[in-house]
Structure formats: C-alpha cells, structure tokens
C-alpha cells in the first residue's frame, strides 16, 4: 500500500515538472504556431542563470525567480523578431521553417553554454532542497511539490489571462485567424512577441527549479525538449489546459511503469502511448487540440 501511494505521489510530482516545461511551449504553439525546438535550451539557460545569480550574489535561488522571468522575457522579446522573420513572408512551410530555425537556436545555445560554462556538472541548492514532508505513509519532497504548485499556478494564470482578459481574447483571435486579426487592427507581430516572451520567461524560471532538483550542464535541455513534445502531443496541439492532464498522465505512467514493470521499459511505454494517441485521437487525449 505504502509503495502504491508513494508511486502515485511520485507520478504526480513528475507530472508537475512536465507541466512547468510544457505549459509555455503549448501556449507558444497554440497561439503562435511556433514549434520551438529550443524549449529544453530555455530550461538549461534558466538553470544557468539561477546558478550564476547564486554564485554572484548568494542567497536562495528561489528569490531570483522573478528576476529570471524578467530577463528571459526580455531575451524572448529580442529573439522573437528573428523567429517572426523565419516563419513569415513567402515561405512555403512556415511551421517547418520555425522548427528548423529554433533547432539552430538550440544548437547555438547548447554549444554556447558548453563554451562559456564548460563541461562541469553544476548544482544549486535551495532552502527546500533535500527537505520533505511525511504525510501518513508517503513522503512528499518539498522542492518537487513547490514545482508542482508552480506549474499549477502558472497554468491557471495562463488560462485566466487567455480567457478572461481583453489581451487574452486578442491573442486567441490572432491564433484563430492571423490575417483577420491584422485587418481588425491587431499588431500581430507584437502579440506574437508578447506570447513568445511570456513562454521564454516561464520556461526560464522552470529551469531554476529543475536545476535545483537535478543538476545543471549544457546538454540537460534535450530531455526536456522531448518531454515538452510528448506532453503537447498528448494534450492536443496547442490546447493549454490539456497540458495539466497530459503531464500528470505522463508522470503517473512513468512512475507506475518504473515501479511495477521495470525502469528499462519506461521510455518504451511513453512512446507507445504517444503513438497510440497519435493514431487513435490525434487531437490529444481530451480531443481539443488542433
């Protein structure tokens, strides 16, 4: 019983980590139709940013989360015009162009990080590191739980923003029909830049949490890029609320397969589920994607 309950908790908390990586990615894809291959590299750069701030100024990395959001928002704002150029104009297949362009960005980020910060494996510690709460039979690691809460809050904020504010409506209108939104006076480029910056900011912040949980190195992003793609396929391409459900399904799947079948079958199980979803319900498990 203890093992079963702990497996559920592990699964939920792994799901929480997948949410924080997948949520911005899904927003970016859902509204701007940009498949950002560099999502894992934003995580990696966020982790390094946290590491550098701790090394330079000291204190707990958690207090730098807002600063990192602002920095990554600004970087996203600067990068977006390049992506916009790659995906607009007379290109035959803008989605593929975006994919190729961001793939290039990911390689530059990875290579750059390796050149600047080297090959060493870095770690950051927060006041929550190594702490956990025992509830009945289960142990809940504090840092992972905070990541889960962070993912939950960000998803709710994104949803409130998209569905309850005027700017959210503008974003959704742009996502639905870019040309008409443009004709109605929306600055499509600015909307895109805002969404991309928001995504970069949130993903950068998630990097600090992930870096504190695991370890920081230049190649750490690849795994999160794959997870982000998994979650978006499962959630339904671009359906933001679906990320929550999909990430938890992925987390639980990973946890249960590892504990009850064997760790070596986890990736196979994940791929099987992803192929199954693509074959049976290509719009995601909630059938709400595009």
């Amino acid at each position: 019983m203890e093992l079963f309950l702990q497996t559920i908790i592990d699964g939920l908390l792994i799901g929480g980590l997948i949410i924080i990586v997948g949520i911005g990615f899904s927003l970016c894809f859902g509204t701007m139709h940009i498949v950002d291959f560099a999502v894992g590299e934003w995580v990696m750069l966020g982790a390094y940013a946290g590491y550098l701030m701790v090394r330079t100024f000291g204190h707990d990395p958690m207090i730098y989360l807002p600063v990192i959001f602002v920095i990554f928002f600004a970087v996203g704002w600067l990068v977006y015009p390049l992506i916009f150029r790659a995906v607009s104009g007379k290109r035959h297949n803008p989605v593929i162009m975006g994919l190729v362009f961001t793939f290039g960005l990911s390689i530059i980020a990875k290579g750059g990080a390796l050149s600047v910060w080297g090959y060493h494996i870095q770690s950051i510690t927060t006041w929550l590191s190594g702490k956990s709460i025992s509830i009945g039979l289960v142990t809940v690691p504090a840092l992972r739980f905070s990541g889960f809460l962070f993912g939950l809050v960000v998803t709710l904020l994104f949803m409130a923003f998209l569905y309850k504010t005027k700017f959210g409506i503008i974003i959704r209108a742009t996502a639905q029909d870019r040309d008409t939104a443009n004709l109605l006076g929306t600055d499509v480029r600015k909307v895109g830049a805002f969404v991309y910056s928001l995504y970069a900011g949130v993903t950068g912040m998630s990097g600090v949490l992930i870096g504190a949980l695991f370890s920081i190195h230049a190649a750490m992003g690849a795994k999160y890029s794959i997870l982000a793609f998994f979650v978006v396929v499962l959630a339904g391409m671009g359906y933001v609320p679906g990320v929550l459900v999909a990430a938890i399904v992925l987390g639980l799947l990973q946890s249960f397969v590892t504990v009850y079948i064997g760790g070596r079958y986890t990736l196979a199980a994940l791929f099987l589920v992803m192929y199954g979803v693509l074959l049976i319900t290509p719009k995601g498990i909630l059938r709400r994607g595009i």
Binding site: L3, Q6, I14, L114, H120, H217, A219, T258, G263, R264
Partner: protein, 414 residues
C-alpha cells in the same frame, strides 16, 4: 583543351600527394588522441585530456622519448568524438589516414572505444585507452587495442567485499540500480556478482535508461529496505540518485557508487551529503608506489596535475598518463624512431604484450589471454569512502588508512 587542363591538374595533385607521402619524415612522435571534448561525456573527456596532456608535457620536459641515444619529442593531435561512437570512428580514421599518427590514445568512455577499436584493427594501428573500462572491449580480443584501467567487472567488487567482510553488523541485503550504457551496466553487474559471492541477498537489480527521472526507481528500492544501495553510473546520475534518496528519506546503511564519486563535481554537487558514500579506485595519491620513470610516486604526479590544471587528480587522469608511459616504454624497447612503419607498429604490439613496468600509477601488465585480453592485469582496486569531507582508503585491509564508517546515519541525524 579544358579536359587536358583538368587532367594535368589531377596528375599534379596525385604527384604532390605521393611526394608528400614519400617526404613524411619527422623527428617527433605524432600521437593521435580520440576523446570526448564536447557532448554528454565532455566532462570525462576533459579528465582524459588532462592525463594525456600531462604525459606529453612531462615527456617533452624530460627532452622526449629516448630511442637508442637520441631523444624524440611527442606531439598530441586531438580528434573530438563528440561523445558518440560514430564520430569516434570517423575521427580515428582521419588521424590514421590524414594525420598519419604513430599510435593512438583512446576515448574516455567505452561506447566510443568500441567504435574506434575496429578501425585500429583495420589499419593495424596500436591503441591504448587510458580510461575505458567496459569488458565488452576485451572479450572482442582486438589485437591492436590495450587499456591501462582494469575492466569494470573487477572494480566495484572491492567495495562490496569491504562491506561484506569488514563492517559490523554485517549487511544482509543490497539493491542495485544501474544506467543502461556500455560502462555503467557492467559496473552494476559487477556489484551484483560480488554481492552474490559475498552472500548478500540481492533484493533488486535494475538497469534504467540514462536521463530518466530516477525517483520511481529509488522509491521501488526504498520499499525493499536494503542495507546497501549500490549505483552503477557516472557522476551526474549519481548526484541525482543521492539527492532523490535524501528527498525520499531513504536510509540504507551504505551507499556504493562507481564511477564518479571521486570527481570534484560529485563533491560540489552533493556537499555534505556525499559523506559515507563508498566507491572504488585503482589509484590514489596516498598509495605507496615508487617508480623509476616519469613521476617518482603518486604524490609527485598529483602535485604536477594540481600545478598545471588546479584540480585534484583521479585515477582516470593517472590511467591516461599511464597509457602514454606504456607506449613510451614499448617504443623504447623496440628502438623505433618516428615515424613508425607498419612493421614497427606490429613490433610495438609485441612489445606492449611483453611490457611489465611499475609506474607512479602502479603496475602495467597487459593480459595476453582470456576474457580480459589486453586489459591491465597489474592493478587491484581499493575501497574509498567519504569521511569528514575527505576521500579515504577503507579497504582492502592492506591498503586501509581508516576503518569504514558503517552504518551511515539517517538523513535527519546528519
């Protein structure tokens, strides 16, 4: 006319290449190095690079390799395998066919080494790896490949033996978690074999893919309450697994890890949580070895590494420098001046097989038969443990500096 021009150009080019080949004359040894300078294994690749560079520096500072009274310097030419086997193979081919190196010093990891070795067979190019430990390399019986670090199946057993024989109360059970790569899973397998031999009950033995979230695996192991939690992996996964064990309040009586616990990243990544972790090594700077070659003893070597690179050396650096020393002695034995001819390269293999030297790194004596063909049979592993922030030798009894601390206190009592 145009065709004639192209024909003439090609002819000139061929003649020039032939001329260049005929002119290949050097008064130094050109040594190819294939290792991981980028990608996932760049950390370890750089450790090997330090070891190889140290050998190059030391041998050149001593004037070079003495061949029949004349000294020839050494020049290393690197090829980055980008942490992938395919690139290791391409890099090796380039070093052999274009750079025309005399011999090759091999990669950090076993995967790239397994891709490099067949290329060396094809071109009959002598190769010593100063780092790779997978037994898969040796069972293939490559004629041109040697290694200074014993195979991983022989390594972790000293740590398990120390725990099974030298601590009280005697541990009864063990759970082993390994990573699925050419090295780590054999490290895990060696732990399992040693545990079974020592009469420990193996409660779980699991191999998981690299890069996955190890939390559920550690949860499954925690539920079995083993006395020993053993990990076959590299430093990154080791750091993460111990972090997870702490988060889950998993309190085994001993942690065993191979390879990576002796690296600076492990110490920095875990801080105080590294205390009580066991590991193994083939070499430490405290070992009492006297050598007549370059570096008189382990301490002198460790000081040289610290002076040049500002890091404490691990056995991988020492093994890589040892690989250079093995070549140096073998090439001196056959009195072959650079560049080496094909016949001399073959003679070098014979000399390496006959080699039996004691260096600062310990004894180098390559096996010439059996499943560990051409791996170093001259060394035995020692058991290490973190005690008071320092790595100390806790076994086997003849090399022990301090008694093993067992059981490890629970996380809330540290």
């Amino acid at each position: 006319m145009k065709r004639l021009g192209i024909f003439a150009l090609i002819t000139v080019a061929i003649l020039m290449v032939g001329y260049a080949q005929a002119q290949e004359k050097r008064d130094f040894f050109k040594v190819g190095v294939v290792t991981s300078l980028s990608g996932e294994l760049a950390f370890g690749g750089t450790v090997t690079k330090r070891g190889y560079d140290m050998w190059e520096d030391a041998v050149n500072a001593a004037g070079g390799i003495d061949i029949a009274g004349k000294k020839y310097k050494v020049k290393l030419v690197y090829a980055d395998d980008q942490s992938t086997p395919a690139t290791a193979a391409v890099g090796t081919e380039r070093l052999i066919t274009q750079e025309k190196v005399d011999f090759i010093l091999g990669p950090y990891a076993s995967g790239p080494t397994l891709a490099l070795a067949p290329i060396c067979e094809k071109y009959k190019m002598p190769h010593i790896t100063g780092s790779a430990e997978s037994p898969l390399i040796w069972v293939k019986k490559f004629k041109y490949t040697f290694g200074t670090i014993p195979p991983v199946n022989l390594g972790p057993r000293s740590a398990i033996q120390t725990l099974a024989q030298d601590v009280t109360p005697k541990p009864q059970s063990i759970a082993i978690l390994g990573i699925d790569d050419a090295f780590s899973k054999f490290s895990a397998e060696a732990m399992k074999a040693a545990a079974e031999k020592a009469g420990l009950k193996v409660l779980k033995y699991e191999i998981v893919p690299e890069g996955s979230d190890y939390t559920p695996s550690v949860t499954a192991i925690k539920s079995l309450k083993p006395d020993i939690f053993a990990m076959g992996n590299h430093e990154k996964a080791a750091i993460e697994m111990i972090k997870i064990a702490k988060e889950l309040k998993f309190n085994p009586k001993a942690y065993v890890q191979h390879y990576g616990m002796s690296t600076p990243d492990f110490r920095k990544g875990l801080g105080k949580d590294m205390e009580y972790v066991y590991g193994i090594s083939y070499w430490t700077e405290n070992m009492k070895i006297q050598s007549s070659g370059l570096f008189k003893n382990p301490k002198e070597y460790a000081d040289a590494i610290r002076k040049k690179f500002n890091v404490d050396p691990d056995y991988t650096e020492a093994g890589c420098t040892g690989a250079g020393l093995a070549f140096q002695e073998a090439v001196r034995a056959i009195k072959a001046a650079p560049p080496l001819t094909d016949a001399q390269k073959d003679a070098l293999i014979g000399a390496l097989e006959k080699l039996d030297i004691v260096t600062f790194y310990g004894r180098i004596k390559f096996a010439t038969e059996g499943d560990f063909y051409h791996s170093n049979a001259g060394l035995e592993s020692v058991t290490l443990q973190y005690q008071g922030g320092k790595l100390v030798e806790v076994g086997p009894p003849k090399t022990r500096v301090a008694a093993p601390k067992y059981p490890a206190p629970t996380w809330d009592k540290r």
